[in-house]
């Protein structure tokens, strides 16, 4: 008989008073004072500061603009935007209207975009002007607005007024993720999940109003939306958007803007560690918040030793973030921390001491994948959600509830490349779309994607791997293109 280790933190959590991310943020900004709510660091221009008043005004102005375009409650709206203050303003303005935001990844190409547009059917698409070409095959019959230096403007009227879609109660966004099926799934994320996630992250971070958090990870990721946009705005920190991952510019921003908290993926921390050399660490730094992929015990120790910071690593999913996280004063190497309040966790293993699939339950969990009933039923096992990830609890004398979760890798056919999820089956399918490829397989080996490709007789040419890479570049995000492509019979 299979054993199930359960850790419950559900009883400890009481929900906040607000039911929408925009109401909660705007209430927070009302008491902000003169400090900037957002700062934007770019490689090619001076630091841009946005006050709380300007952010609030921006949200109300954009809300009026969106309403004038016909956007209303339950209308799905896709955003294809770079990290920017405008992204934050649009997110909050759409939340005020009750529209459903679809954060679109700028890296995505034909295959991923086709799934997103067919599945979510956004009635309005708001895109960087420079990105319109990438999404143009999917814009027929939709309203289209572009973001330019001068602001956001409607450039294509819809064929009909934006239509409402059917969503469960309180859904704020559809965030695409993978389960190794070969196509993305749109997890519906509620306002309450965002607010819960922000609160439990802040419980672990214990940041103080007036501090600054710098981040450069894409705003389309759930980890960024919760941990980098909402935590600062709800708890009085200035969110510093770094539009670069250049170590020299990041260290300069940390120094010049007196940054206390940095949020990034382990791969960026590793880069910063290697690039920093023997210089003294920036004195303002207090914590490195980490997520997105595995942080080794060795990197945890080296970061702490080199920068004199506490490293707070955690674990979460698009369907629910965070599941667990290390807290200040109690972080441990090699773990993703104890379970967050508001969550029950089970390890589905043959033996309590062994690794097994991590299963979670929470009243704030995503209500399912949008218009994917079969996939939703397969992932939700009764009241518990099967994460597709393996883990176990550490042995601790501190009491059962304080046991730390240890992440043991993916059971599903997905892997993380630089903190970003790659569905191996999707890459395989992309390879087989090439006319001369009969079959293909894809695996993740020593930190890189490796493809084995079987071409037909007419397709065997010495430059096939290079040709395939050029082909894949138009089909899927560039980080999904295998670094090694081997030809086989």
């Amino acid at each position: 008989m299979r054993g199930k280790t359960t850790v419950s933190r559900a009883a400890d959590f009481e929900f906040a008073s607000h039911d929408s991310i925009s109401d909660a943020v705007l209430a927070s900004l009302a008491d902000w004072g003169s400090r900037p709510a957002l700062s934007v660091v770019s490689p090619d221009r001076p630091v841009q500061l946005i006050s709380a008043d300007d952010l609030r005004t921006g949200v109300y102005d954009v809300e009026r603009l969106l309403r004038s375009w016909g956007v209303r409650q339950s209308v799905p709206v896709a955003l294809f935007l770079e990290n920017s203050a405008d992204f934050v303003i649009l997110l909050l303005a759409l939340a005020r209207i009750g529209a459903v935001v679809i954060p679109g990844k700028l890296d995505w190409r034909r295959m991923e975009l086709a799934e997103l547009f067919e599945n979510a059917d956004p009635q309005l698409v708001i895109s960087e002007e420079s990105h319109v070409e990438a999404v143009s095959p999917f814009l027929t019959g939709r309203a289209v607005a572009v973001r330019r230096a001068q602001g956001i403007a409607l450039v294509q009227e819809p064929g009909k007024l934006p239509g409402e879609a059917e969503f469960p109660d309180n859904v704020a966004s559809i965030n695409y993720t993978y389960r190794g099926l070969g196509y993305p799934l749109g997890a519906m994320v509620t306002h309450r999940q965002y607010l819960h996630g922000a609160r439990v992250l802040q419980d672990g971070l214990q940041a103080e109003a007036g501090e600054q958090m710098l981040y450069s990870i894409p705003m389309t990721h759930i980890f960024t939306l919760v941990g980098c946009i909402l935590v600062p705005l709800l708890y009085g920190l200035t969110g510093v958007i770094a539009r670069t991952i250049h170590p020299r510019l990041l260290f300069q921003a940390i120094h010049d803007l007196n940054i206390q908290h940095l949020t990034a993926v382990p791969e960026i921390y590793s880069l910063l560690l290697r690039a920093h050399g023997e210089s003294p660490p920036p004195p303002s730094l207090r914590t490195f918040v980490s997520g997105g992929s595995v942080l080794s015990g060795e990197l945890f120790a080296r970061l702490g030793e080199h920068f004199g910071v506490e490293v707070l690593h955690g674990y979460g999913l698009t369907e629910f973030t965070p599941v667990s996280r290390n807290a200040r004063g109690a972080s441990q190497a090699g773990t993703v921390g104890p379970m967050c309040d508001g969550i029950d966790c089970r390890i589905d293993s043959a033996d309590h001491a062994e690794s097994g699939e991590i299963m979670i339950r929470s009243r704030f969990l995503s209500p399912g994948y949008y218009r994917r009933e079969t996939e939703t039923r397969a992932a939700w096992d009764g009241q518990f959600f099967r994460t597709g990830d393996m883990g176990r609890f550490s042995v601790s004398s501190d009491g059962f509830a304080e046991r730390h979760l240890m992440f043991d890798g993916e059971r599903k056919a997905t892997r993380k490349v630089n903190g970003v999820m790659v569905d191996l089956e999707e890459v395989r399918l992309a390879l087989t779309r090439f006319p001369h490829v009969r079959d293909a397989s894809v695996r993740f080996e020593t930190g890189a994607l490796v493809a084995e490709v079987a071409p037909d007789a007419s397709g065997v040419t010495p430059d096939l791997p290079a040709t395939l890479r050029q082909f894949l570049k138009k089909q899927i995000a560039s980080y999904k293109i295998p670094r090694i492509i081997n030809l086989r019979e």
Partner: protein, 86 residues
């Protein structure tokens, strides 16, 4: 160090970071598509070259670079400018 000494040093840096043998660094090879150098690796290469050769490299300029040859040319040009300025 002259510009001609630069290339083997850059090759060493790129090879160490990308774990790709320097014999593959032909001028017409595409950095991203063929060598598989991603944005994080690229940043590490830029940061290391800046430190090693006391340069400041522009991210936007690097994002326009497509081939190994263009990358070497960019670094050689910046290095020459630095020597003139210095």
């Amino acid at each position: 160090m002259t510009e001609s000494d630069l290339r083997p040093r850059i090759e060493q840096i790129v090879s160490r970071i990308s774990r790709i043998d320097a014999s593959e660094f032909h001028d017409d090879v595409l950095i991203r598509e063929e060598l598989g150098i991603d944005s994080l690796m690229a940043m590490e290469i830029l940061a290391t070259c800046e430190k090693e050769f006391d340069l400041q490299l522009d991210e936007a300029e690097f994002s326009c670079v497509e081939t190994v040859g263009e990358f070497f040319q960019l670094l050689e040009a910046r290095y020459a400018e630095q020597r003139i300025a210095g």
